[in-house]
């Protein structure tokens, strides 16, 4: 799905430069679940942004496609093209949920389908189905402020998956949740990953969460090292 070669990202900071990524090489297979761990400020989220086309590397390439070798280089695409890739193929989940506070759960999920020019009725139908998949069929009209943290993250997951993306990128999805809710959410993500054959990259501090992934990468000083590789074919749940 991805092939990253020599990805470097430098940020200016004051008079100096922060080397957030330093020549990261990484291949992510279709349907793989990769967890990335590491200390704060060592480049985990930056790497995720490169994968999601939210930012461009200072150097290197980020090939994206069914076959990473022949995919589009997100580093070279025009902004409108990257936007299209994000709209069609990549779902995001954030630590702080990032729901639109004025929109209901249903409307938040619908917002992900707006760029795809889906008809209003179809958008509504698919959003309701996505919320039902995350067990929130009875919370369609609720505003984010009327939902618990776990419920808000479920809405965010439904929003990420409603467009049936190839890739799900999650940045500390359980960072703001208690342990019980964390397990629920990770269980849900794992189930969806298995059922839908998603490629999932999950950034987390939580080793309990990371250990459930097929591979674990450790980001340290902008460099990535693979710590664990237990790749196996996802087994669809019954």
């Amino acid at each position: 799905m991805y092939k990253l070669t020599g990805v470097t990202k430098d940020y200016p900071k004051g008079r100096g430069v922060v080397h957030a990524l330093q020549g990261v090489d990484l291949t992510i297979d279709d349907g793989e679940w990769l967890a990335i761990q590491g200390p704060t400020g060592h480049g985990k989220s930056t790497l995720l942004q490169m994968l999601g086309g939210l930012d461009r590397p200072t150097a290197g390439s980020v090939l994206f496609g069914d076959d990473g070798d022949d995919g589009e280089d997100l580093a070279q695409l025009r902004e409108s093209q990257v936007t299209r890739v994000r709209a069609e193929a990549i779902g995001f989940i954030f630590q702080t949920f990032n729901l639109i506070p004025t929109l209901s759960a249903l409307e938040n999920v619908e917002a992900a389908l707006v760029p795809l020019h889906v008809s209003t009725a179809e958008r509504r139908r698919r959003a309701e189905a996505a919320l039902a998949d995350v067990a929130l069929a009875d919370r369609l009209r609720h505003l984010p402020s009327e939902l618990s943290g776990g419920q808000q993250q479920r809405v965010a997951i439904a929003r990420a998956l409603v467009k049936e993306p190839k890739v799900l990128l999650a940045d500390e999805p359980t960072g703001n949740l208690d342990e019980g809710t964390r397990d629920d959410i990770i269980g849900l993500l794992e189930m969806l990953w298995r059922d839908r054959g998603l490629t999932m990259v999950l950034v987390t501090h939580d080793s309990t969460v990371a250990r459930r992934a097929q591979r674990i990468g450790i980001m340290q000083n902008g460099k990535l090292a693979i710590k664990q590789d237990t790749r196996r074919q996802p087994t669809p749940t019954a």
């Binding site: 709209a87 995001f92 917002a111």
Partner: protein
Amino acid sequence: MFLTYLRRELRRRARQASIIALGLALGIGLVITVTALSSGVKNAQAEVLHSLYGQDTDITVTKTPTFSGGGSFSFRGAGAGASGTGTRPKAGSTVSIDNLTATGLAAISGSDVTAVSKMKNVAAAAGGLTLNDTKLSFTVPSSSSSGSGGFGGGGGFSGSGHFPTPISVDGVGVSGAGAALGPLSSAKLSSGRTFASADANADVAVVDSTYAKTSKLAVGSTVTLAKTSFKIVGIVSQSAASSPPDVFIPLARAQALGTSDGKSLKGDVNTIYVAANSASNITSVSKDISAALPGTTVTNSSDLASELTGSVSTASSLANNLGRWLAIAVLIAAFLLASLLTASAVSRRVREFGTLKALGWNSRRVVGQVVGEAITIGIIGGIAGVGLGFLGAALVGHFTSPLTAAIAPTTGTATPGGARTFTGGGGFGGGGGGGGGFDRIRNASAAAHPVTVHLSAPVTASAIAAAVVLALLGGLIAGGFGGWRAARLRPAAALARVE
């Protein structure tokens, strides 16, 4: 989704949206009020000016006289026997003078009226004669008793004599354009009738109500002009501000009896009243006439408006200067406030927009959302502004005292409508003192009797249209500014923002 999102967002920041809308409403309301006030002042000016021009007259054409300084003087039918230029009447004899003369305006050929009427963009043109009827009776002194000067060659009566107030007379057309244009057309008939086509060569007159009152005249009585009795057929009331003529007579009779610089005015006029076919063509027609009739003074309403004095002039200057700039200042402040508050709202929603971009919303859609919200606020502000504008205009109409207006007494300029005549100039006899006093009397009268006009502030459709445009503009400026900031957001930076 666009409308739902827009509605919810505006509801969320209702207080801020209200402040922006209120600011825009104040600016737009002020613009409408000032525009209405300006229209009202213009209407008031027009009311005064129409009394000078005639209701439909847009332009007047006059000609400044050139005084020869040695004109002749004719004692027509004087009791002591008429005598020609330089002929000294017998000492002790009584001399009666009754002359109808053009003392302030030079003659213009009647053919020029026809020429003007055929010009491009001219709807109609008519000629008129502005004259003074002077009656004087005196006993010829012996040659040794003359104070300064005397009749004949180089003398004349000295200037500061006790001249009777002359009767101001306007010769006007009695039918067609002649009746439709000029000062009589705007006069209100108090009693009797106005002129008819059959009166063209008749000795009939229409008199001003003030003059009729002071001279104890009524319909059916007569007034003597140039030793000719004119039967009064109607009495009209006119605006005092215009220093209206005392008597109107048919143009043909005025031409037959009147003189200018000693010459007959037969076939001549001294004022041409012109109506343009459209208000927008007045300036171009004025220029065309100036080019076609060199030596004439062409005056239109905007020229004359600058000569108005009184509170209407103050109100005009208030509306056009202070009001306009105040409205512009408030509007700019409102636009700035709207822009800053919208930009501030965008700053607070950085993560939100970053999230939307991460979801695949392109910059255009995000900017559209911001601009849509700003324009909606602008429209709300515009609607409130129109309401405030109507309220302001109503308050102006309700609380403003009636305005006064008069034409400033001036000398040596054109005299549209024949309302004023020129001071200075000729005199009796061979070039001596004499003249000048008549005009001061007329102008002093005008200045002392300003007209009162009620000021209304009409809100026009164009003012409302301007308000709508301003509202949209305010929304666009604010939204454009906020949208520009939103468009520049990099999703990664936006998502990294800690709130």
